[in-house]
């Protein structure tokens, strides 16, 4: 059963004003527990509008958002409870930190849920560990930490609400290579440990290729492509035209294909490309 499902949702900004703009059109998506979904699209393609629909920050003009098979807008007064089930981490989340200590900042979400102090403490600790920080961080001032550490604290703040789905908008933007690898590693571990579904918006095709199972490509508020990673990146030319990119490994294989070699271009990661190239070299050996 899908944990969250979008059924042909459409949304326009500033309806009835001269600034009216169709931001989303007939988007459907179904996410199961433990899924890892990627969303790509250039600036202004509707990604940030879309992710605001997952947890009811925006209400679709038409279509439905179902969480556990129930329309989240059935009772608009209850919308806050949806936000605890669908965790949303915005771009540069470290900018939303406001407490003096790491522990207090992570506790903000659980406190808003009305949990008792003991549960809160336990969740704070757990979340801190999920992002790879140890107990010594609890009493530290987040504003004196590095940007990468602050980012992890901010993400922990959403994990501490124990959502069933965690939506991350460009979680690695601006991090250095090590910071980015580390963060993605911890998100992956968190997914495996808790079976939380992850929806990740990213501009890095390599990160998408490496981590996610399914990709949704947005263009001008519509679904341009949706499917498994190789099936989406098979549309290299179209993706480039949409202002996107394909992973470098795919580009290498596409280059060989263009030279007339019969190569399977569905490889998107280093390991897959290595495997495919070896096959290309070895198959010939046996001919």
């Amino acid at each position: 059963m899908a944990i969250i499902e979008l059924r042909t949702i459409s949304f326009r900004y500033g309806a009835g004003t001269p600034f009216e703009k169709q931001a989303l059109q007939n988007i459907s998506l179904s996410v199961d527990r433990g899924d890892f979904i990627g969303i790509i699209g250039h600036t202004g393609s509707g990604k940030s509008t879309l992710i605001r629909h997952f947890n009811g920050l925006l209400r679709p003009d038409s279509g439905q958002v179902l969480v556990n098979n129930e329309d989240i807008w059935k009772n608009p007064r209850q919308i806050r409870s949806v936000r605890f089930q669908i965790g949303l981490v915005f771009q540069y989340p470290e900018t939303q930190i406001f407490e003096d200590t790491v522990a207090q900042d992570i506790a903000y979400g659980p406190k808003n849920m009305g949990l008792d102090q003991e549960t809160i403490n336990q969740r704070v600790l757990e979340a801190l560990h999920f992002v790879g920080l140890d107990d010594s961080y609890l009493d530290r001032n987040p504003f004196r930490m590095s940007g990468g550490e602050m980012r992890r604290v901010a993400i922990a703040g959403v994990m501490a609400m124990k959502p069933a789905v965690l939506v991350l908008d460009e979680p690695t933007a601006g991090l250095d290579p090590e910071g980015r690898r580390n963060l993605l590693k911890h998100i992956e571990q968190y997914r495996r440990k808790t079976n939380t579904a992850i929806i990740m918006v990213s501009h890095s095709m390599e990160d998408i290729a490496e981590h996610v199972q399914r990709v949704l490509v947005l263009d001008k508020g519509k679904t341009a492509f949706e499917g498994s990673v190789p099936s989406v990146f098979a549309h290299a030319d179209e993706l480039m035209q949409l202002g996107l990119d394909v992973p470098q490994m795919t580009k290498v294989l596409l280059g060989l294909k263009a030279k007339g070699y019969s190569v399977d271009t569905s490889a998107v990661t280093m390991d897959q490309a290595e495997h495919e190239l070896l096959r290309l070299f070895e198959r010939k050996d046996h001919e």
């Binding site: 250039h42 601006g174 990119d245 280093m270 190239l277 070299f281």
Partner: protein
């Protein structure tokens, strides 16, 4: 080629750190010549942004010297001239644009230089044309995409007619299209206008487009070489917590499997050609 920027035994620490005696820059000796295209790589906190800020006297050395065209950055009298020569572009395009109209923003620096109005006008048009944003000159920056804003920011520096532009992670907040547009612009400025480029980046693929790559670690230069040679030092890259470009890694793995393709490769086209050549060598023409 003459030295444009020269650092000698450059040390730096922020005043309030002095007690800890921890150097952010710990003895940098570096010469940047006119027309070069240099990429600086290093993990966060390695001192690369601090180094960049020394190139145009935003920061001045705690010890050692920085010379720009032979002028000492420590001498306040030189700072105006130095900033005119070495332009700087930052990460967040939003935080460097000051006007609500693109062309007026680009005019800001020449206005500060006290240039005659008609000359400012022609410089602004020239600079916007050089970054391919002339069509947007009457637009408001707020409505532009990140990549477009960043190119306007570059034009704003270009209008000073600097010899060198230092860019501190100019693409890290952009989407793939914006990133590739900005990179194309940077390469073109270097190639066609001969402007010296110092590019600080976390993207190995961007660094691979430079002619010279400097790796930094704990306030020191760990390596200073061509991209091809730099990225061959896989152990060093890993030690400095950097990425190995995927292309380099792939060719490395291929060689380990006994497939004869040359070393020192960073570009996709090179790699495809080499793989095709290796296949051909083994089996004759396809």
């Amino acid at each position: 080629m003459s030295a444009l920027i020269e650092t000698k035994n450059l040390h730096f620490q922020y005043l309030h750190h002095q007690s800890q005696n921890e150097w952010i820059l710990n003895g940098i000796d570096l010469t940047i010549r006119n027309g070069e295209f240099i990429a600086i790589l290093g993990s966060n906190g390695c001192g690369k942004s601090t180094l960049a800020k020394h190139f145009n006297a935003l920061l001045t050395p705690s010890d050692g010297t920085v010379l720009v065209n032979g002028r000492d950055t420590n001498d306040e009298k030189n700072q105006f001239e130095i900033r005119k020569t070495i332009g700087m572009v930052f990460q967040n395009p939003d935080n460097q644009l000051i006007s609500t109209i693109v062309e007026e923003d680009v005019a800001f620096a020449p206005e500060n230089l006290g240039i005659a109005p008609s000359e400012i006008r022609s410089r602004v048009n020239w600079a916007l044309d050089a970054v391919d944003m002339l069509d947007y000159k009457r637009h408001t920056p707020f409505k532009l995409s990140g990549g477009q804003k960043q190119r306007v920011a570059i034009a704003g520096i270009l209008a000073m007619r600097p010899q060198c532009i230092v860019l501190d992670e100019p693409t890290s907040m952009l989407d793939p299209k914006g990133r590739s547009d900005v990179m194309k612009t940077i390469c073109r400025l270097n190639r066609e206008l001969g402007i010296t480029i110092v590019l600080i980046t976390h993207h190995m693929e961007e660094a691979a487009r430079a002619k010279r790559v400097i790796l930094m670690d704990q306030g020191q230069i760990a390596s200073d070489d061509t991209p091809e040679n730099t990225f061959e030092q896989i152990e060093l890259l890993k030690k400095l917590k950097l990425d190995v470009p995927q292309i380099t890694e792939l060719t490395h793995r291929m060689r380990q499997h006994g497939i004869l393709i040359p070393k020192r490769m960073v570009q996709i086209d090179q790699c495809v050609d080499a793989l095709a050549a290796a296949l051909e060598e083994r089996y004759g023409h396809y």
